[in-house]
Structures are given as C-alpha cells and as structure tokens.
C-alpha cells in the first residue's frame, strides 16, 4: 500500500468487490434505474411499526441479499462498515445487532458509501480482514421527520431541494482476485464555502467534490478521460452543474463522462423530485446496482466514484452556521493495472 502527498491510498493488492445488492422503496422503483435493483419494496414501512425499524429492516434485507449473492453467510464477513442519516446511526446499529458481524458505524451524510468502501477496502487490501461489507441506507420518512417536517405537513419546496432516497446499497469486499477492484481511494477534507441553505445542499457539497477531485488527479497523475464514468453522489441537478463549473475553473474538464447519482435515480420532471435524490441510500443504491452491474458485464470498465456529504444538523443550522461538506473518491476498475503515477 502506498500513500500519496494529498492523502490518496494506492492498494498494492487491490481488494475486489465480489458481490453487491440494492433494495429501494416504491418511488425509487418507479424511476429510471428500476430494472437494476435487486428488490423494490412496495411498502415503505417494510412490514415494521416505525420508520426507523423499517430502515433497519431495509438494511438487513440488502446486506443479506449481498451476502447470499457472494455465496457466503454472515459468519464469513469479518467486518461491517455501515452508516445512515439517523441520529446515532440507529438503522445501522439495529441491522448490525441482528447480523452479528463485527461492526463500525459511520456517519458521512450522503458520502457514507464512499467512506464505507474506503474503510472496507483498506481493511481487506491491508490484510486485516478477509472479507468486509460496506453498507449505507437512507429512508425518506425517517429523514423527513428528523431533518424537516412531519410527513403530512403541507408545504412547498424550492427547486434546488432534493428528495431523500428510500434505499440501501451493500457491497462485499474480499481479498479474492476477481474484478471489479478498488484500486485507490482519496479521503476528503472538509470544505465549507459558507452555504447555509438546507434546501440547496448540492451547492454546499460541490466545492468539497471539486477539492477531492483536485487531490485525486494530482496524486494519481490520471485525467478525467482515463475513466468511463465519473460519478458524484449526490449533488443533484443544481450541485452537478456547479461542480462542472468549479472543476472547469480548477482545470478539470468533466463534461464528457460525468453524472451524478442524485440525477440518475429519479426522473425529476415526471416524479417531481426537484433537484434529484439525496441521502446515503441514493449513491449506495446506484453504485451497488446499476454501476457495479454494468462493470460486471463489461459495459463500464472504470469508475471514479466521489461520494459527497453535507455534514449538517438542523440544530446547528438554526444557530446560523454554514454547512461543512466532505467528499471521498474511490477508483473502481475491472483491471488491476493502475495506469497512473
């Protein structure tokens, strides 16, 4: 393992993602990526009494599916890195309680999938775990009641607001040599350019994504054209446009092969989701369904995934503070040959 100047970790023996699974809710199942999910649950309560238990159940179902697809059982997983948006990461905690896998709870807001993949890759790539799972979930109804308003409260949203995705993604990493691999990861620094609008989180997060991209490209010597897909999660439509602009100013042109998980998961016009999806279940579900599946069938060979998170709390925002944001980059490729410097 090698560590570069701006923090990028290059794996000398890259861990592979041996299985992935994504389960989503009803609205996400009506979106453009519907065909790629392992399951679409029509009941957003997941047969549970409370929304929090519903999210824990969603996480359990997704992780169990991923483990099963890998041909393993829960006992074969050495470590579980999982996170969600809830206070004290309760969805992850309750899922881990039932799964009985050694557990690390993570909070990186919508960047959690990239954070979990990074840590699981370090553990497996470094030889400290034979197999590790990276899981993230979010649920529209748990997020609304914690961050915004009661579900039946009637109000209007601004065009830049995003809809929290009901969904979960799970990936199983292993030391086995089988594509796709995680070649390197760039842990992000917290960036805050003074955005205070809770309804424009894409704008708050875009500079963090830009900062991490600059670090990644300067550490690896690669260029945006080295990738089939550069994917942020989840800036939404407004944030994605801002990233293209700020990246361009920083000398990185993303125009040809860039997309954002928040833009991909919904048809914002037909589904009236404004700027797109958000929540760690958004990038989790998009990466662990469409993206990794396209890599497995060889349609995409290399992906740079930049998970972006707005590390805000309603309490601190009410105290008029701005939103600190983070982005972690994960380079996923079907080949172990690293062409960078």
């Amino acid at each position: 393992m090698k560590r570069k100047k701006r923090g990028t970790i290059l794996f000398s023996s890259p861990p592979s993602i041996i299985a992935n699974a994504a389960v989503v809710g009803k609205t996400e199942g009506e979106g453009p990526l519907a065909a790629h999910f392992d399951a679409i649950c029509q009941d957003d309560r997941f047969c549970e009494k409370t929304w929090e238990k519903a999210e824990a159940s969603l996480q359990k179902q997704t992780l169990s599916t991923a483990i099963k697809k890998a041909g393993l059982s829960a006992d074969d997983i050495d470590m579980l890195f999982s996170g969600d948006l809830l206070n004290q990461c309760v969805a992850s905690g309750y899922c881990a309680r039932d799964m009985r896998i050694p557990f690390f709870g993570l909070y990186g807001a919508c960047s959690t999938m990239a954070e979990a993949l990074t840590l699981a890759a370090v553990m497996t790539g470094g030889g400290y775990a034979e197999r590790a799972a990276a899981v993230t979930s979010s649920h529209f109804c748990t997020a609304e009641r914690q961050f915004r308003f009661p579900l039946e409260y009637g109000g209007q949203r601004t065009p830049t607001s995003q809809r929290t995705v009901t969904g979960c993604g799970a990936a199983i990493l292993s030391r086995t040599r089988k594509p796709p691999y995680i070649l390197c990861c760039t842990p992000g620094r917290v960036v805050d350019l003074g955005i205070k609008d809770i309804n424009n989180m894409g704008a708050a997060m875009a500079p963090a994504a830009c900062d991490t991209l600059v670090s990644f490209f300067s550490d690896t010597g690669l260029s945006p054209s080295s990738f089939d897909l550069i994917l942020t999660g989840d800036l939404g439509a407004a944030g994605a446009d801002l990233l293209l602009e700020t990246a361009e100013r920083a000398g990185i042109s993303l125009r040809s092969n860039y997309d954002d998980c928040g833009r991909m998961i919904f048809d914002s016009r037909a589904q009236d989701t404004h700027s797109g999806g958000s929540g760690c279940g958004c990038s989790g579900a998009v990466i662990c369904s469409y993206v990794l599946n396209q890599m497995r069938i060889g349609k995409i060979a290399s992906v740079l995934f930049v998970g972006t998170g707005a590390l805000m709390s309603p309490t601190v925002l009410n105290q008029k503070e701005s939103i600190p944001c983070i982005a972690h980059a994960v380079y996923i490729s079907n080949s172990t040959a690293f062409k960078g410097g």
Binding site: F149, L151, G154, P159, T160
Partner: protein
C-alpha cells in the same frame, strides 16, 4: 485553484433556480380566496341559525374549518393540495390545523406523552407564542389609548 467564498455565492445564485413566485402567488391567492369564500358561506349559514349569536357563529366557522383540515390531513389529502396552494392553505386556520395534526400523526410512534404530547406544537408553537404575545401588546396599547381618551 479553489474558488473563494464570495465568488462562489455569486456562482450559486446564478446556477440555482428560484421558486416561481408569480405562479405560486397567483395559486395561493385564488385557493386561499376559495377557503375564505367557504368560511363566509359557513358564517352566513350559522348566522341564519336563531340559536347562535354572531360571536358563536364565528367560532363555529373556525371549528368546522379546523375539523375539515384535520380530517384532510389524516386522510393524506391535505399535502398534495398544499403543495399546489402554498400560502393559500397555510395562512387560513387550515394551515394551523394541518401543522398540529401532522405533528400529532408523525410523533405518535414515540408515545402519547414523550412523542405526541411533546411534539404536537413543534411547528404551530411559534404561532401560539407570538400570537399570544402580540395580542397582549395590542391589549396594553388599546388600554393606554382608552385611558388617555
């Protein structure tokens, strides 16, 4: 180079779509107006009842509108209407009822006391607090004017 905070704020303004104020205002105006017409019709109806005084009829209108709004909230009908109507449903007493009932429904899962009881006025609370405070201040002003006159 990383962009500065002031420059970035300008950029954000340029890239972020604004709400459609003209359309929203127009919709709020006519939907809010419709609710007021309903209120007026109810008032006329109650006023025509011999056993109700005018003050009682006014109170009865409020009770009926609050009840309708609460039922609509519980049935999941209020939210889609409010999304369209905006301030049109928010400003009349219907908005207050929705704020209380939606919080009641939402936080019932945390128990009658620790959930519903504590969170019932989580949105509507400020209206009660500042409404009471404002009426007190106006009362004092009115008292001073009457005493001096």
């Amino acid at each position: 180079m990383q962009i500065g905070s002031a420059d970035y704020q300008t950029l954000v303004k340029r890239f972020s779509k604004n709400s459609r104020t003209a359309k929203n205002t127009l919709n709020a105006f006519w939907t809010g107006g419709l609710i007021c017409i309903l209120g007026q019709a109810l008032l006329d109806l109650f006023d025509s009842q011999k056993h109700l005084t005018h003050d009682e009829a006014v109170a009865a209108v409020t009770v009926v509108l609050v009840l309708l709004s609460a039922l609509a909230t519980g049935a999941g009908l209020y939210k889609p209407v409010a999304k369209f109507a905006g301030a049109g449903t928010l400003i009349p007493v219907t908005g207050f009822a929705n704020a209380v009932v939606s919080a009641g429904l939402e936080f019932r899962s945390e128990g009658l006391v620790t959930g519903l009881g504590i969170k019932l006025f989580t949105i509507a609370g400020p209206v009660i607090v500042y409404g009471s405070a404002a009426s007190f201040i106006y009362g004092v002003i009115l008292w001073i004017i009457k005493t001096l006159a």
